[in-house]
Amino acid sequence: MKRTRQLASLFLAIVMLLSLTACGGTAAPGATASSESAASESASASASTEATEAAKADGPVLNVHFDVEVASMDPQIATDGTSFEVIAAVTEGLYSIDAAGASIPAMAESVVKSADGMSYTFTLRDAKWSDGTAVTANDFVFAWRRLVDPAVASEYAFIAEIAGLKNAVAVSKGEMKTDQLGVSATDDKTLVVTLDTPVPFFDSLMAFPSFLPVNEAFFTAAGDKFGTSPETVLSNGPFMLTAYEPAATTITLAKSPTYWDAAKVSLGGLQYQVIKDSQQTMLSYQNGDLDLAALSGEQVEQFQADPEFRNIMAGYLWYISPNQKVKGLENVNLRKALALSYDKSAIAKNILKDGSIVADFAVPTLLATGPDGKDYRETTGKYLSTDKTKALEYWKAAQTELGVAELKYTMIVEDTESAINVAQFIQAEVQATLPGVILEIQTMPKKNRVERMQAGEFELCLTRWGPDYADPMTYLDMWITGSPNNYGFWSNAEYDAIIADAKKGKLALDLAARWEALKKAETIVMDEAVILPVYQKGDAVMIKTGVEGVEFHSVGINRIFKNATKAK
């Protein structure tokens, strides 16, 4: 009898131990936690079933892959491409972007621009939020004031300054009240915007997620929970959220019945799936669980013969930034020698293999369309193309001018696989082409690389820049004297004058002349080898046959699904 009791207590102890480990021994009562999770699971499960059912009735659902979670559904807080994509799928601004990258009116029905380009009066179209209330001019005023409000502390407040919004800088520093920002609503349908300077790309900026409207009453009612669930996100765009939670691994969107242009939306909805493992991604794609998936660099070779494989040009320009305060690098011949000494096409074709292209320029291709209707790169030349013979000549000239036979530099590189591979190839090429130049590589996390650059504590750095808006200025603005992103400390009075004139002077209103001036500015940057361009990043994606009309962009919103179709 005693033994039975002991045995029973032993087993009881084991069961307790197991149940405790199952609950992790935390203070939270296990029973409540698991019943809550069951409830939330069944709730979200039913929500997504509803979404799928609703979508079936309405049109096919597109299954799309993300490799990272959505960081925020708040248009004024979000800063990353993934968040921008989902926010833009459910929200529409004054303008949206068409397949070719041009801005087309969305919430704006018509606009009157003043002759000096400093004031815009928008008349809004009759559009509704998904709760049935009308989209009003105040929704824009409220959102834009949030963007620059120091209490909100948006990381993208700088974009208001780029858009030229009057008093944006002073308001974001807290020197002025938010109601002094250059935006106001004269009535529900009329939005008046005043600028500090004319901004030629203002229209396309208005499609940028930071400028998307937020309904004030809804935002106030949602409070801290704004943007954290389908109930706390309002939609005026082609789709609406049906399942979402912060850092969700699955997000579902359904076609919005209240969207003004709903007749043109053929998809019944979108189902996003976050998968971080690239092999798992491709298995899911081949399994038919995904219609659209991004490939990692090493998978490209395996899939590039597949008819569903596609290369997409991304906006990122990778280049080497030489610090001109470092002895030797102030010499233009040395910089040119370095720039011409490595085989860029080998980097794009043999090392990256992901659709990246050779960069013989400072402003990427497919970034901006000029007043002539052509891509910027179509009407400009090539600069600093690889030429090892010339590189050697420049090096000899530099050796004479500097009075040295040997030079040794350290290049800092972020510790991602592709960056290290590229850096090592460049190291080998430079040392082989330019006898006497020794290049060392130091790897570090990207954060540290950026900090070292910002502090000016580097000699050479392999770095990248992504565009913020569809205009060459998003790159050229970096290299003016005193710019915080002018890491190389290069300074040129003529260049500064052109950029200043294009931003605020008479060129700002003469678009054709401005375009030519920007080309000239790029020529100066390249002639002086201020940066040593390497490649423009390409992305490789797989799209299932039968899926059409997905619009890819290298600036702002990366993928737009409004016009996408999927065959049954």
Binding site: A22, F158, P246, Q273, I275, D468
Partner: protein, 313 residues
């Protein structure tokens, strides 16, 4: 016994405080702030640091940090889910990870025990060999390799199970992750059970019991297994911790919205608050499990209590 428990609890509490201190110091030693995007203007950095209290002196921040961590307020996420309170993130994720871990440890222990007992009873037969082979594979093969094999064959080729975790079918879609996770537990428990059982079975008191004519069922379960289980309970604690670290990879692989995948994302995106909160939670879990094991050990094995010189109950 009370004294023994009290001492254990105190040691655990001190350990938690030390961990808090270490986490804070590590946070301080990390380079820069979460807000050093190269496109942020200096003025905006000042505004943002002020908003999140990152501009305060170190002692003030340490005080705030200890107070809020102990009260369960882990602050907000900076990058993974901007401005979302970390407790909100945990609400939906913690139960999923705990359920997965619970499934793995329960199933793993059960299968491990059965395999171990069978192997010991059928010593030096084919069953013993099979158990040894399973143990060696389970201990030496990393769980993610095993998971990838499962995904490829059971999921992709034969389409028995979904490739990814699905909120719609939380049990069915967690079968493959659970199997991948519990392999190590099965192997370890089986190995320990087998060794301990063999030792117990060969002991004098078993011989005595057998000669007294006790039937074989009672012999095995009452006399042999009970004594063999004691050391196994101690290895269960490190096993549970092993499950937690294993779940980081497994959750990432199967896109499971648990705290393991959250930690991986947080580390990758420098979301310091989330990293600290999750490290703290993992540590508290570990300490909690160790505490329970220590106490249970005292309960189960009288020699422990006696060795501590406590009074008899």
């Amino acid at each position: 016994m009370k004294k023994y428990v009290l001492k254990r609890v105190l040691i655990s509490a001190v350990t938690v405080l030390v961990i808090l201190l270490v986490l804070f110091l590590m946070l301080e030693l990390m380079p820069g702030s979460p807000f050093n995007d190269e496109k942020l203007t200096e003025a905006q950095k000042i505004v943002i640091n002020a908003k999140y209290g990152l501009d305060k002196p170190i002692l003030v921040r340490f005080g705030n940090y200890i107070a809020s961590m102990l009260s369960g307020d882990f602050g907000v996420s900076y990058t993974i889910s901007k401005n979302t309170p970390i407790t909100t993130l945990l609400e939906s994720r913690l139960p999923i990870s705990l359920r997965l871990g619970g499934q793995a440890i329960l199933i793993g222990t059960l299968i491990g025990l059965i395999l171990g007992i069978v192997a010991a009873l059928k010593h030096n037969t084919i069953y013993d060999t099979i158990t040894t082979v399973i143990s060696v594979i389970g201990v030496s093969l990393p769980s993610y390799v095993f998971a990838m094999a499962l995904i490829y064959f059971l999921g992709f080729q034969w389409k028995w199970f979904p490739l990814l975790y699905q909120m719609k079918s939380p049990v069915f879609s967690s079968i493959m992750p659970t199997i991948s996770l519990c392999m190590f537990t099965i192997a370890t428990v089986a190995r320990f059970t087998r060794t301990e059982m063999l030792e117990v079975l060969g002991s004098d008191y078993m011989l005595l019991a057998e000669s007294k004519g006790i039937n074989s069922f009672h012999l095995i379960f009452r006399h042999a297994l009970r004594n063999a289980l004691i050391p196994i309970i101690t290895v269960l604690a490190p096993l549970v911790v092993g499950l937690m670290t294993g779940s980081l990879v497994i959750e990432k692989l199967f896109s499971i919205p648990g705290i393991g995948s959250l930690l991986v994302s947080a580390i990758q995106s420098n979301d310091y608050n989330v990293v600290v909160a999750l490290s703290f939670i993992y540590s508290v879990m570990y300490i909690g499990i160790m505490l329970v094991v220590d106490i249970l050990y005292g309960v189960i094995d009288p020699r422990i209590r006696l060795a501590k010189g406590d009074e008899h109950e």
